[in-house]
Amino acid sequence: MTKNKNGQIDHSRRAALRMIAAGGVAGLIAPNLLGKPAFAQTPPAAPTGRIIVGLSQEPTVFHPLMAHIEVDDGVNFSMFDALFRITPEGEIVPNLTTEVPSLENGGISEDGLNWRIKLRDDVRWHDGTAFSADDVKYTLELITNPDFRAWRTTGHALVRDITVVSPTELTWRMEEAFAPYLSFLTETFMVPKHILEAQADMNEGAFHQAPIGTGAFKWGRRIAGDRLELVANPDYFGEGPYIEQLVFKYIPDMTVLYTQFRSGDIDVVGQSYLTPDNYAEAKDLPDRVVTLVPKASVESIYFNLDLPQFQDLAVREALYAAIDRMAIIDALNYGVPRETETFMPTQSYFYNPDLPKHEFDLDRARQLLDDAGWVPGADGIRAKDGVRLSFKNSTTSGAHLREQAQQFIQQTYAEIGVEMLIENLPSAVMWGDFWVRSQFETAMVGITYLIGSDPDVTNRFHTKAIVAKGGSGSNNAQYSNPEVDALLEEGARTFDPEKRKDIYLQVQEIIRRDLPFMPLFANTSVYGIKKGVEGFTANANTRTESWHAAGWYWA
């Protein structure tokens, strides 16, 4: 394994697999933890040059608090700041603040209800106005304003009595103790009160088309359908920026994205990165640095646990054992992703490495079904009490790798007397009510479970999060286990990381046992950057490669 000068790792697929087996995935991102290697070049004194990031979706929502998708995050992180940032290791560090509130420093009261935030005094908006506690208050209140088309409101809805103590200090009270809020605040970007208050409509206006932030880059211009140009903010209070211009270029086709990376038209391949089928070729390209970066999302097959055939744990165990997972990873996905047994990202502090390992074993699968009384009928399909072991599997149509995996699983299932029908739907249909209201039978889906790095998964596994049963959340499997519910409630109230770790290790253990979904693999992105781009680090705790463009520079 060789380390090149910007701290990235060139490694073969074999080496990567060895490393995963040996020491967990932390090894893959470990070089980033060290920050800049001592022998790296130093950034230029004044911002120079331009870096072009290629994106396969177009950033279009520039008010950072409005409903948006992943690609918009890269722009937000570059133009705005939050109270805190999250490092690649998952540590929450000050951004617009001077400290991260905790029980120890008194920033959060013992009961977790009273918060005190201390702000930096040297921050200015791009128009020169000083940033202050009033802006923070305005931002947090805007999110819960019923007329504002806000993005997610979880956590924010619990905040009460925001009080500005001084321009650099404010306090608030939480309706109930909610530990994940600290992590949520790393993705809550502060907006300028003095500009937005003067704007007639909070949902549209000049700010939304050319926003003013505090971040390392200022708004340049946007060519709709083509690209967005940001320019350096020389007065930025933090590190950088070292480049004059940051360009987000929209390239709608994944093949073309790769082609333009090869031809040198783009410097950094952003969201949705290179496709696994290009990895083998891309990693040998001259003057390009191509790396595998673990993602927070997990690819899995979700059960709709409301269906009679899936209520028997033996069935779920048998179906899991009958998936040849390594073949899906190696043969279909070019060995890029990694095995996992849990929803928790492998690089997380809360990851449980001691879960039972999946083994592909058709005999065991048959045995499990035989023992549970599922016997093959006249048509060869197993049945019990009049319920046939037959179901549909759905995912986004046109997702080739998933479609291949479906066909592959369909074959091994047929060998154990289980019928899996494939019924794929266009993206907007698949992830509409069909998914949200649990109308699917089984679904092949890639899910990011965590917000920031916080291990809270109430939204995914708590009984009250089953929409199909009148709840609110994204418990699409309709999974319900009182033990898990209790643990999740306790976890959300607990601030001590050690204690929280115990709780979420247990949650993972129970969910691995109950199998509301069958983990296929932990997703891995294939990142590509041009040689000479320095200061680039990946951060699986954010949704974007451009979470820290302020630190990028040309060698």
Partner: protein, 316 residues
């Protein structure tokens, strides 16, 4: 002429209403909708999505939504994009130039070359040239544009390095030459299909004209073959092509879906695809109405031009 125009305008209005009702109904019948893109967002709850749907007015009955949209449309308000919060007319306006540039240049190439091939194919019927042109047209029509595009990028950008792999111009360089350099490959690729269509129509139309009595008369008068073709055949053969051009006018602005995607060209075809993908109803409806109006205008202009050029036709 005034009566004719009045009648056409009335017909067009009825047509626009029908198009808008069908478009609106079909769009809203597609399950999913604008909220689907947030379904996998870790922190987005059903409450958040319901709130957004309500704020966007999506939970009202479809006919209420339609009349609301139509009433605003009548007042000249095309609505606001869900995706980027801009007025629909602004969103469309921003993409018109790119498409116009691409389709305009490829149409010029296609008409010039297609007309020539068509005439020559007709006058040299069953010659090697004619067979080659026929086979060439079939090939160009049956191979998908994206394939031509990707092969072009592979050969001319990656292997030879002569032409850029896409985009309208190099970032930081907006010179005319730079535009032209970027225009060569996409417009040629697009033109291939149009040359094929245009040359087939032109060939048929020329053959039609050649078999007319007045051509025999012209030849009998002892006119040179060149003069017969140029003066008597081509002029008449071009008449039906005016109508064809009128029908094709809207496709000039909306027809480059695939090419725009392959060459990352920021035009209206891609805007349409993206807006559909995001279920950005106001923009999709806007594009639909825009192309419906263009179709109507294209046909109207073609009818008027044909009447002006051909003294036998009178508008009534």
């Amino acid at each position: 002429m005034t009566a004719f125009l009045l009648k056409r305008v009335l017909q067009s209005l009825v047509l626009l209403v029908i198009v808008s009702i069908i478009g609106f109904a079909v769009l809203n019948l597609i399950p999913g909708g604008p909220m689907a893109q947030y379904a996998l967002d870790p922190g987005m709850t059903q409450d958040d999505m319901d709130r957004l749907a309500e704020q966007l007015g999506l939970n009202r009955p479809i006919w209420v939504q339609y009349f609301d949209w139509a009433w605003r449309m009548l007042q000249g308000d095309w609505g606001t994009s869900f995706r980027d919060g801009n007025p629909v007319t602004t969103v469309i306006g921003r993409h018109v130039f790119a498409t116009f540039l691409l389709m305009g240049s490829s149409t010029v190439i296609a008409v010039a070359i297609g007309t020539w091939i068509g005439i020559r194919g007709a006058t040299h019927r069953y010659s090697i040239f004619d067979y080659a042109a026929t086979i060439g047209a079939m090939v160009a029509l049956s191979i998908p544009t994206f394939w031509f595009g990707l092969i072009g990028i592979y050969v001319f950008s990656l292997k030879l390095g002569w032409l850029p792999a896409g985009s309208m111009y190099t970032i930081g360089d907006g010179s005319v030459l730079n535009y032209l350099h970027h225009l060569i490959m996409p417009s040629t690729v697009l033109a291939l299909v149009h040359i094929a269509i245009w040359s087939r129509f032109m060939r048929a139309s020329t053959l039609d004209a050649i078999s007319q009595e007045f051509v025999k008369t012209a030849r009998a008068k002892g006119l040179s073959e060149r003069r017969v073709i140029m003066k008597h055949v081509v002029g008449n053969a071009l008449l039906p092509m005016i109508t064809l051009a009128g029908v094709q006018l809207p496709s000039i602005l909306t027809g480059a879906l695939v090419t725009e995607t392959v060459f990352t060209w920021p035009g209206m075809g891609r805007l349409f695809l993206d807006s559909l993908g995001y279920s950005d109803y106001p923009v999709v409806m806007g594009l639909l109405m825009f192309s419906a109006i263009l179709t109507i205008l294209g046909n109207l202009i073609a009818d008027i031009v044909v009447a002006l050029v051909d003294p036998r036709i009178r508008l009534a």
